[in-house]
Amino acid sequence: MAGVDTFELAKKSVHLVRLGAGARLREFRAVELGIAPGELRIHVPVVTGNDVELIAADRCLTAREGEAWCIAPAQTCRMINRGIDGCVFLVIDGVVNDWAHALLQRAAQEIVGACSEPVGAASFRAFRDRVFDHPALQARLADITRPDQFFEAVVTAGTELGFAFDSIDVESALNRSRHDWMMRTVAL
């Protein structure tokens, strides 16, 4: 783990995350998982491929081997491995110091990474438009109150119609939409 020492900050934890083919990490925010103010989480792809999606704020980052990514702890994050091989990420939680601060400043100014809409999110968006045009589909889904049953019914309906999203994509879309509703603000 010599590479870990490249990161010159006090480390709270260092661990490896492995996602097998087809595996996925549900959406989370690092702040909800013990990252306190003044701390940060660094993701280092160790083994990855084009079919691995590291998704922050609902955008898919192009995280390549040898890079390091820092996702704002309050931001939503999820991972999907759509490839046929496993992927491995090194995840370092540490305390922001001058070194880390300078690194983040420089990265924010100098590095422009391409990002794209995640495959599942795009597919779900298309499905949602389909639902809006189909009262029968609306009727099928509208009155399901239990979230797990609802997600399952949505994924089933999507699969039947040839869409390629799963329950995690649905849950992420729902979380974002609920957040938007709850944060609707009085226009002062």
Partner: protein, 330 residues
């Protein structure tokens, strides 16, 4: 675009312009004391979180042009805490009515502030007409829409009048001591400085003292009452109504005003026996309790800021009552 069964729930200000957000209401009715309560209940369904749809305002205008909805048979303006919810619940008790009680999307449309100046003249008129039409879509064969506004919407009276020149309206008010006691027991968001732009209340930014929130509230109420009085003096098809006339006025001079029918009476009378804001409970008169609770300080605030306009409202109401003869009971 087919919006059958969908209801607008807010106007969101997106980066690329305003968007109307809709949820699938199907045959659900707006029976709660407030629109927001129905929405809170509806939003517990995961479907509404995942499948809210957005349209542009123009799309809503185009769709409602082909689907005009139930006609607007009455608008209830009020000074808050004065019986407007009772009227709303009496009307909502009727199977044939739709009552939009302080609907959030209408507030989104009517609220203009220095930061969000709103839409240009005729567009605003088309917007509020389309919103009323969208809110007033019959879901169970209803044939009349009633709008209970938020109290500050009386400051948008001219716009609403222009949008609905034929809609009968009332301005409802109450002894300001009782209103202010109610506001002290449970303050409305608007009565707390900083939670609503003072321009919406006819007040100036920064023109309040942190130690005198009751004065801020009283001055805002005075502006509301003043706008109600001016509306009554200038525009036809409106009535001033005092809380003391309720609920009997609903069976009297408001009966024809709001196009009500004899068969509506039992349901309205039954609704009046319940607590309008907590319909599971019975209504208990609270005038004496509120009067007894009024402190000397509160009475002094009322005397300075609200007593004069209240007296003017009463004078105007009694004059028009005499001119009209007297209340007619069916």
């Amino acid at each position: 675009m087919n919006l059958d069964g969908w209801m607008p729930v807010r106007i969101a200000r997106r980066a690329d312009g305003p968007r109307v957000e809709w949820i699938l209401m199907g045959a659900e009715r707006l029976r709660d004391p407030f629109f927001v309560q129905t929405m809170q209940r509806q939003m517990m369904k995961p479907f509404h979180q995942l499948f809210r749809r957005e349209t542009t305002i123009d799309e809503m205008i185009a769709w409602t042009a082909a689907n005009p909805g139930a006609p607007l048979r009455g608008i209830v303006f009020h000074m808050s805490r004065c019986g407007s919810t009772l009227i709303g619940q009496q009307l909502a008790a009727l199977e044939r009515t739709i009552v939009a009680s302080e609907p959030e999307p209408m507030d989104d449309a009517l609220r203009v502030t220095p930061r969000f100046p709103g839409l240009p003249g005729s567009d605003e008129v088309r917007l509020v007409r389309a919103l009323a039409a969208a809110l007033g879509q019959p879901r169970n064969g209803e044939n009349a829409l009633y709008l209970k506004t938020d109290c500050w919407h009386i400051h948008r009276f001219d716009l609403l009048r222009q949008a609905f020149p034929d809609a009968p309206w009332i301005f409802l008010y109450r002894d300001p001591i009782e209103v202010l006691v109610s506001q002290q027991r449970m303050p409305s968001a608007w009565s707390v400085p900083g939670l609503m732009h003072p321009a919406m209340l006819g007040l100036e930014p920064g023109d309040w003292s942190p130690a005198e929130r009751d004065v801020y509230c009283a001055r805002a109420l005075a502006q509301v009452c003043d706008a109600g009085l001016r509306a009554a003096q200038q525009a036809g098809s409106g009535l001033l109504v005092n809380y003391t006339e309720l609920p009997d006025a609903m069976y009297g001079r408001l009966f024809r005003h709001f196009s009500l029918r004899a068969e509506d009476l039992p349901a309205m009378r039954s609704a009046a026996e319940r607590d309008a804001k907590a319909p599971a409970g019975k209504f208990t008169p609270d005038r004496a309790g509120k009067q007894a609770e009024a402190t000397e300080r509160l009475r002094a605030v009322v005397a300075e800021h609200l007593a004069p306009i209240y007296a003017q409202l009463e004078a105007e109401r009694l004059t028009s009552l005499h001119a009209a003869g007297s209340a007619i009971s069916p």
